[in-house]
């Protein structure tokens, strides 16, 4: 069993009918999941919806969780698929409307709650915004593996599993993403 012992106990309690135990799992992972989804989707609103959907789906299917991976990995895979679906929906919305409704993280920070800003200096915040915008300009094909690597700290093999692509592709896409990001950041600061 790879699953964390604490997680395992909470899962068992949930399966026994104690929904509060699942609430503890939500509290434990909501910030991590939300933070990554916000960057994957470029929208805190979409991140909210997708994260909520993912938790609800995980709850419904908790009895199918085989504990062969960590609970968070399992949850994240659910969430990532939900995020991909959300993107498709967004794409249709953008096609259907002139302006679309997607708000960019860097331009319109969350109004749903206080954003976590560890770097208080103006310079740091500006650089964060710069990187966010550059990330958002990357195509999901390259942005996703990079975010999973940098923000989630996943190994290439884990990323390959989540994205359902070969490990070699993960490696080349991460490299390409970094190169593109470097060029964008260079242009932005020139």
């Amino acid at each position: 069993m790879i699953v964390n012992a604490d997680d395992g106990r909470l899962i068992d309690r949930t399966l026994a009918g104690d929904n509060r135990a699942f609430g503890e799992l939500v509290l434990r992972y909501q910030d991590r999941l939300f933070g990554t989804l916000a960057h994957l989707l470029g929208s805190v609103h979409d991140a909210h919806d997708v994260a909520q959907d993912a938790f609800l789906s995980a709850f419904r299917k908790l009895n199918t969780f085989r504990k062969e991976s960590s609970f968070y990995s399992w949850l994240f895979r659910i969430a990532y698929h939900a995020a991909v679906s959300n993107r498709r929906k967004e794409k249709r919305h953008r096609h259907a409307s002139v302006e679309g409704r997607r708000e960019e993280l860097g331009v319109e920070p969350t109004d749903d709650g206080p954003a976590h800003e560890p770097h208080s200096s103006l310079e740091s915040r500006e650089d964060c915004d710069l990187v966010r915008r550059a990330l958002d300009e990357l195509s999901p094909e390259f942005r996703d593996p990079l975010i999973l690597k940098e923000l989630e700290g996943m190994k290439y093999e884990e990323i390959a599993l989540v994205l359902d692509i070969p490990v070699g592709t993960v490696r080349s896409r991460i490299h390409r993403a970094r190169q593109e990001l470097k060029e964008k950041l260079t242009r932005a600061t020139a």
Binding site: H48, D49, L56, F59, G113
Partner: protein, 455 residues
Amino acid sequence: MSVPFSKDLLSAYLDGELSPEELSRVEERLAENPELQAELAELRQVSERVRRISRPQAPQGFHADVISAIEQANTSVKAAAPEASPWSWARWRRRITIVAVCGVIAVGLRLMQPDDNPHGDLAVSNVSVPPAAPQESITAATDETEFAPGGLGGMVASNSVLEIEEDVSGNLASRLLPTNRVPDAGELLSYFDVDGDEPVCVEYMVADVQQAFGQVQLLLSRNGIKPLSGAKLPEAADGGNGLVAIYVEADDAQLQAVVHDIDQLGGQLHLINVNDSSADLPYLAGRAAEEDGVAATIDTETPRPQAEGRAMRMAQSPRALDTPPPPAAAQIAPSPSDPSPVGSTNAIAVSADSEPSAMKPEAKAAFQMPVENAQVLKYKLMVRQRESLEPNGAAPAEIVSGESQGEVVRGGAAKIPQRDSFQAKSVKEAGESQGAPKRRIVLFVTPTSQPSSER
């Protein structure tokens, strides 16, 4: 043999993802190439900058929202072990899709309520629909195929609807993820599920049934088939499981045009001859008796299909096409003004307002217009209708769909009547009849698959 060098090894080097051989190769190249060292430094800097970006925390109330959603869904996790023999992916996906499609029909009928009817000249009766149904129709697509809105009111459906294998009475509305608003037509909603450890996503495209219905009405009108005036026409839902159905009475030429136009819209059309199955169409039977004495009737010699789980039984009676229905049959049909029973078919009655044109053999070719995947989907939908009607004493309906002639219905005992046979009878019928060779049918408009090339 040395490992070939490529620059993406630099990123893998940063991430500690190189094999020992690759690591040696990269370090060897770095030692001899200052430019490569600079490039590595830049990549490292980019990586660090990305890691420094802030990660928004979940908003206040997020936890409460999740718990609330769980409670609202009245969901509990069962501790039962996963199924011993897990479903294959395709089979599992199919199961969800089927649930979705049935739910689609259930929720879609909501739009057919009187207040939503754009045609003011159509009087309608009460509608019985599941209270939880949202006011849109939702069709399903799997995560492997994307579908573009369009066709009849944006109604689309998955090609993966293949067969009914289990109880599909699940309420789609409760399965959909929480939403506090009425979705727009064309919008994709998602349902997330897990197959073992495999997360899967089923997308539901919201279709505007009212728009689809309006388009069909327009086609009917354009082809000389207009709504009856001054009649109280019933509209009912078949317990939330049926189709958008339009009752018409028209000659073959008119129907041919409609069939053709609907096909142009990307829709699919199923025709059910109701001359021998009035119990399926109570209004039409009563209406026929009331107007011209040519009433539909139940073919009492045809065995009623028995429910067999989800088995499909498209029983039919070719003989009935030749047999003039007895007027007395009207007595068994409810009055048009009677409240439609729950479980009856959602219908709008229309009739031809013009004299039928001459029956031309070539005109009937329209009935043979192939419609891909229609048959499969039709089976699904018809089963739902059939089961909801059986308790009310429904007789088998004859399917005269424009395709799959002569096919044995999977899971059932009957055959679709041969097209040639049907046409020959029609001609004979027309020749013997002094009146117009009108045929009372029901048009079932169903979603049509429109997979896009996008993936």
